[in-house]
Assembly symmetry: D2
Homo-oligomer: 136 residues x 4
């Protein structure tokens, strides 16, 4: 599937007194891009939560390559790196929209809970499984 | 009742590129102080949510008097201004801990929902009512 | 001048455990819309800071009319209510993009600092003054 | 040196609609604990910025082990893992204050900039160097 790349315009409240975007926001942008990708797939968080599925974050990491400043727009490219029906592994790439310069890379890992318990999407929600697999 | 005044140490991630604490954080500090006051009263948010009561914010305002900088500790004094069993009106005063200088004043208004509907605490939860009235 | 209305898509990290968007985010959305309006006028924050002007928030308030939920897109309409060259008074209106339902109203007041001191834009930066006046 | 362990009380605005603390806050708590550790060493961010040193984050990661809920207090233990005068590598451990249960682990890497350029603390700021080395 061909995704529309997610864009985020940086906000003043995201800056810190170093005069750059505070690093913690990148973790939130990963979530924005992930959430947008799942929505484009037809299995957004809102939809998943209606099915009773929540998808906690198991781990997250970011490597900062260059600084992002207030007013910049960044493109956040999320990709499904691995998915085995139980765990989802995504990678991210943040680039300046205008120059294409790399701002950061990162990844996150997720599981799926149904009624509070870890589940295999393969068995319980084959449609969700298929859609996620189609991104590999 | 005599409350212990709530203190907040400002954090780097709360700063913005003006080199001061971003104004939106004061609204969060009001919540911190409100939440702490309710806990000291024995009716913290966690307790209220166990009773099935949620307390949405109806309005909030802040007047910024002087700048707060990274590393400062502020005292946030929350007071019950009015409470009629249905609506709660709080006021806030933020002072620098060291100098006592006024940083901001503010207020917030709240109602109480039980199973999604506005309720009068007086009728349904007289104990909560009493405790809140004791602050007037 | 005819402004393009600013839109914000709500994010998961903006929700709280009441299952709605946390009220402090509306204050940030006001900033997003204000910042966008100034940019459309050609006097965005980045431009102002290049001139050496910063524009601290003197006060802010919000009235919450109905709940915003994760996944909703809101329209945030910022308007210049008053401007006398020294102080800027804006009002805001947040509506659900799809239904038009009113989510919140609010306002903010700002002054202008140059080299740390309050200034009258009228004298020092007549072009900025004109542009802001054109919004009245 | 024997550090006082940093504690953070979770706040309502840190929760998300999964009913837990949003994962992005842990990254901010790492910063809180790091900042507190440096202050206990006598080389807090405020002091460093007075010297003209800023210390950007090169990378950050977190592994989430169990959920943190509103009202919990966590202990965040920051340790200097490696420091060679140019790069600082810290690790973190977040535990529930009451039960000691592990909530998350993590790490961050930092360099030091002076007038916008990477520097070796060893040469330019031997006192800062010594203090950081004393943590190894």
């Amino acid at each position: 599937m061909d995704f529309k790349v997610y864009e985020h315009k940086t906000q003043y409240y995201e800056t810190d007194q170093m005069g750059i975007i505070h690093h913690s926001n990148y973790i939130r942008w990963f979530e924005e891009a992930r959430s947008d990708m799942l929505e484009q797939l037809g299995i957004g968080y809102a939809y998943m939560e209606k099915l009773g599925i929540v998808s906690p974050v198991l781990s997250v990491s970011a490597e900062y390559k260059s600084m992002t400043r207030y007013g910049d727009t960044v493109r956040i490219i999320a990709s499904v790196e691995q998915f085995d029906g139980v765990r989802l592994h995504l990678t991210y790439r943040i680039e300046d929209k205008e120059t294409g310069e790399l701002r950061a890379t990162g990844e996150s890992r997720h599981c799926f809970l149904y009624q509070g318990h870890p589940i295999s999407l393969k068995r319980r929600f084959p449609r969700v499984q298929e859609l996620l697999e189609s991104c590999l």
